[in-house]
Amino acid sequence: MDPTITDFTPVAATLGGILIGLSAVLLMAFNGRIAGISGIVGRLLPPYAGNEVGGAALFVLGLLAAPLLYAVFAGAPFAQTVSANAALMAGAGVLVGFGAGLGGGCTSGHGVCGIARLSPRSLVATAIFMATGFATVFVMRHLLGS
């Protein structure tokens, strides 16, 4: 099967979404923090003033531990298709990091936590990155044919 074709999996998607939501609520209830991954990852970079590097590092460790746990329970590693085009992935990485840094959030901070707070900034941010995401994939796949 063409690895770029993926099945529509509404039940697994909803369950996964609920877990993401539970994580966000847990982090706010106990630690008073937004579960925004670009922000949490950003706290690993200097300057560190009052930014709780340790807490961010533990959250990231949790992120990294999950694929191992998943492999144990699923009996096989998580299957994914990642582009191996070095220039594309380097450029995309810089755009994602820079864009999230400048825009104050990413899919989790704006798209989940911000929308859940009904923040107008997050609604606008999510609409914009969805729009440029749709446009980018359209150009890449249907105009450039890659």
Binding site: M28, G39, L63, V82, N85, M89, G93, G103, G133, F138
Partner: protein, 151 residues
């Protein structure tokens, strides 16, 4: 205890990304491919996550303070400014090109795909560049850290 919460929250978040399939960039790019191999799964992930977070926050944010911290660190910014618009626009382009956003990219690190190992350091450089730019443009230096918004 706070440390344990951070780790557990990261673990649950990441399991959510794996179970929902969002840690697979192909699935995200197919969501973004309305004219081609469209896969609407991402909508269900966002709906599940937003509904749970919205209901949870309604109860949690009504309390005077978090269980293990002094106060809730919730973004106070209100303005829809150029940074938000340009930043989110660029973010979406990188997201479409790669199928990765920060959570799935970090979650994918242990799977050691070549593209992930290139993407994550590049993303860290991008976050650092944004911080340098936003701090340089604020008189007197670091008044508003780049990620002090919604994170």
């Amino acid at each position: 205890m706070r440390a344990a919460i951070n780790f557990i929250a990261g673990l649950i978040f990441s399991l959510g990304l794996l179970i929902s399939g969002m840690a697979n960039p192909a699935k995200v790019q197919n969501f973004l491919d309305l004219a081609g191999t469209f896969d609407p799964s991402l909508i269900f992930v966002m709906l599940g996550a937003v509904v749970v977070t919205l209901i949870g926050y309604l109860f949690v944010l009504r309390r005077p303070r978090p269980l293990l911290a002094e106060r809730f660190l919730v973004p106070s910014l209100k303005d829809i400014d150029g940074r938000l618009v340009v930043g989110s626009g660029l973010f979406g382009i990188g997201w479409g090109l790669s199928g990765f956003c920060p959570g799935p990219a970090i979650t994918s690190l242990p799977l050691l795909a070549k593209g992930t190992l290139i993407f994550v350091p590049a993303m860290l450089i991008g976050i650092g560049l944004a911080r340098i730019l936003t701090q340089a443009s604020v008189p007197g230096g670091r008044v508003i850290p780049a990620t002090s918004g919604e994170d």
